[in-house]
């Protein structure tokens, strides 16, 4: 495969010299004080764009037996990610996860492999991430590492981002709108860093775009009630 995945916003893609490498390793750090769902969601959406409609997406994380939250398929569908294309791998510990990730990347059948890790993850060192980068280049499978509750460390990633949720453009009656992500490009191998943007996910067109914040108070009252009724039906 190879090539680059443009995120859809010209400024951003120029900064990325065309986009995110489809056969690269990309790291998405959640801010240490946040819940981290935004970083996972952004990685999933990038994965969704790389996989398109044909390729499966493999999502590896700690076993559901843990006390953390679990992936919710209706929520994936609501983001525009077909839950049917997602294979969830839940394993006991990081060493198993790293073995399974490497195996999944090497196989080459998936468009993207997402590894979601909580905490410091000493095992995922420079050597381990180099190995993943090599495997990604060979098989053309993107490796998306989601790091929640972790501080950025040295790695062989092609890009490293900090991703947090950003305020959404409000819908009528001040309802939360489509998801917006606050992105900081912390590192880009062979390219500039320091980019800081906010991107909104447009599900219908399956693109990121710059959010447009309007004034929610301009929306007529009563819209909320209508929306509520329609959804309840």
């Amino acid at each position: 495969m190879g090539g680059a995945l443009g995120l859809g916003v010209p400024d951003v893609d120029r900064w990325l010299q065309g986009g995110l490498r489809r056969d690269g390793v990309h790291e998405f750090y959640a801010p240490p004080d946040g819940e981290g769902a935004g970083a996972s969601a952004f990685a999933l959406l990038v994965g969704r764009l790389i996989c398109g409609a044909d390729l499966p997406l493999i999502w590896l994380r700690k076993d559901r037996g843990s006390r953390r939250e679990r992936p919710y398929a209706p929520g994936l569908a609501e983001l525009g990610i077909d839950p049917d294309a997602v294979f969830l791998v839940g394993l006991r510990d990081l060493s198993d996860l790293l073995v399974a990730t490497a195996e999944s990347v090497r196989h080459g059948g998936a468009g993207a492999v997402i590894l979601e890790i909580q905490g410091r993850a000493r095992l995922l060192d420079l050597t381990a991430s180099r190995r993943l980068a090599l495997a990604a280049e060979r098989s053309g499978t993107a490796v998306l590492l989601v790091r929640r509750s972790a501080r950025p460390v040295a790695s062989a990633a092609h890009t490293r981002w900090q991703v947090s949720a950003a305020p959404s453009p409000a819908l009528p009656a001040n309802a939360p709108g489509p998801p917006v992500f606050d992105l900081q490009l912390l590192r880009q191998r062979g390219g500039p860093e320091g980019l800081h943007v906010q991107l909104e996910w447009n599900r219908e067109q399956a693109v990121f775009r710059t959010p447009i914040y309007g004034d929610p108070s301009a929306v007529p009252a009563g819209g909320m009630a209508d929306r509520g009724r329609r959804r309840a039906a």
Partner: protein, 506 residues
């Protein structure tokens, strides 16, 4: 009388001194000296089993220890341990699975092998099998007496009583209990041969109906099939090594060769295996077992080899060849339909951009357990936490409802299951949340939508009633989006409804 089962062949091995012999082999008891294994029964210590030397002195099980010591002063005694005896017997059973997969224990001191059809495959004769089995059991420290017959009952009786012919067996071989035994002897019927010539009906009338059944079993008129210790697969291949394998490395080649042998059988049946069992028989009687299961029927030897490679690598206890493996067997206990694939069809599938994840899934399942990989399937359930479920990765694809265009995501990406309790401040008791505290951290709600009312599905649980949930999508000042609900309608269902955090949005 025609013999219904003349073509079947059974071998029984009686291990009369098993309880004493394993103690000798373990070094617990001295060899070649008399000792007894005792148990307290109704206040007296009674002999349950004896060493060969003690038997030679004329002692018999059932004797009180005190009486035995009157005959043999200072007879050493050890506690009887039926459970340990059973474990030793099962080791003998497993060691004999090299001759046939159909091996069953019988009672506390015997085992029986169904050797039907085993001679052609392996080039054994019943004598060579008996010799080999005896010497292998001797390595476990057990002395066995083997006998062959066309029914398991006859083989067992011949082994137990040490006679060559069924007709020479004493009537005790019928195992009808002391009373019937005595009555038969009084009637002058001392051997099976004597009974054989008598009309059956009067015998049954006098000595019970069991007699007919037992007699038929001994005479080979009725075949009681044995229930093997391990269910036997009909699709199996074996490999005997001229030299025992002392290292693990050639095993994968052996496994691939076994798979190659089975490939034809599977192809003829239009089937593939969903499970493959490999048993590795060690010269000392130990058997190592490896099993792989796969998500789809498989018969490609290379793929099967790959799965076993994964299995070998993931073993918590690496295989220990010890004195070497001298036989391997592969059994396919679970098969499913698998049409021969035309290669160009498979390639077309790839060209359409649908690569086959199945080999990867199989490998991950073998290594990390079949439950570690799953897909999602929708469920038509009312409560959000039941709206999806994890299914095995090979499950059929499912169609998911499409979200309404223009709406933001109405369901969270992550769900807390069960929901987490949070403390919420709302302006009015039945209004939307303004602030909440989650794990000690305060969140200020700046946007919200709701309530979306989700009632307890009372129509499904007519007796059970749960509070209604009022769900709110909320966003805090940093942009994090949460799914909260109030549990119970204020004033109607609950005076102080609790709040829960049920999910995190993107």
């Amino acid at each position: 009388m025609n013999k219904l089962s003349s073509e079947r062949r059974y071998m029984a091995i009686h291990l009369p001194f098993l309880p004493a012999e394993w103690r000798i082999a373990d070094g617990v008891a001295p060899p070649e000296s008399p000792f007894a294994l005792i148990e307290k029964q109704r206040g007296a210590l009674r002999i349950m089993a004896l060493s060969p030397a003690a038997t030679a002195l004329g002692l018999r099980p059932g004797l009180a220890l005190a009486d035995a010591r009157a005959l043999v002063p200072e007879l050493p005694a050890y506690p009887h341990d039926p459970e340990a005896d059973r474990a030793v017997l099962m080791r003998a059973v497993i060691a004999c699975e090299r001759y046939t997969p159909m091996v069953a224990p019988d009672g506390a001191d015997a085992l029986v092998l169904d050797l039907t059809g085993c001679f052609q495959i392996a080039g054994w004769t019943q004598e060579t099998i008996a010799d080999d089995a005896r010497s292998r059991l001797a390595r476990l420290g057990l002395r066995g007496r083997a006998a062959h017959a066309t029914t398991p009952d006859a083989a067992l009786a011949l082994a137990r009583f040490g006679t060559r012919n069924v007709e020479d067996l004493p009537v005790a071989a019928l195992d009808l209990g002391d009373e019937a035994h005595l009555a038969l002897c009084r009637a002058g019927l001392r051997t099976i041969g004597a009974l054989k010539s008598r009309p059956r009906a009067p015998l049954a009338a006098r000595f019970g109906r069991d007699l007919s059944a037992r007699l038929a079993g001994l005479l080979g008129e009725e075949d009681r099939r044995i229930t093997p210790h391990r269910p036997a697969g009909t699709i199996r291949a074996e490999y005997r090594f001229a030299e025992p394998l002392m290292t693990v490395s050639p095993l994968l080649d052996v496994i691939e060769r076994l798979a190659q042998r089975l490939e034809g059988t599977l192809a003829e049946r239009g089937a593939g295996g969903r499970r493959f069992d490999v048993a590795l028989f060690r010269t000392d009687g130990h058997v190592a077992r490896l099993t792989v299961t796969c998500g789809r029927p498989l018969r490609d030897p290379q793929a099967i080899r790959g799965l076993f490679a994964e299995r070998l690598e993931s073993l918590a206890d690496p295989l220990d060849p010890g004195f070497g493996y001298d036989m391997a067997r592969m059994v396919v206990p679970l098969v499913e339909r698998l049409e021969s694939q035309q290669p160009d069809l498979a390639e077309e599938g790839n060209a359409r951009g649908q690569p086959d994840l199945a080999p990867l899934i199989d490998r991950l399942a073998v290594r990390f357990g079949p439950r570690s990989i799953s897909r999602f399937q929708p469920r038509d359930e009312h409560l959000p936490e039941y709206a999806d479920r994890a299914v095995p990765p090979e499950s059929a694809s499912a169609a998911w409802p499409r979200p309404e265009p223009g709406e933001p995501p109405l369901r969270p990406l992550f769900l807390y299951d069960p929901p987490r309790r949070v403390s919420v401040v709302a302006e009015v008791p039945d209004g939307p949340p303004r602030r909440f505290v989650w794990r000690g951290k305060p969140y200020r709600v700046v946007r919200h939508e709701g309530p979306e009312r989700i009632a307890y599905p009372w129509w499904k649980h007519p007796e059970g009633r749960g509070p209604t949930r009022d769900y709110y999508r909320v966003e805090d000042e940093t942009g994090q989006r949460f799914w909260l609900f109030r549990h119970g309608l204020y004033g109607r269902e609950n005076e102080h409804p609790q709040w829960y955090l049920h999910g995190l949005f993107a």
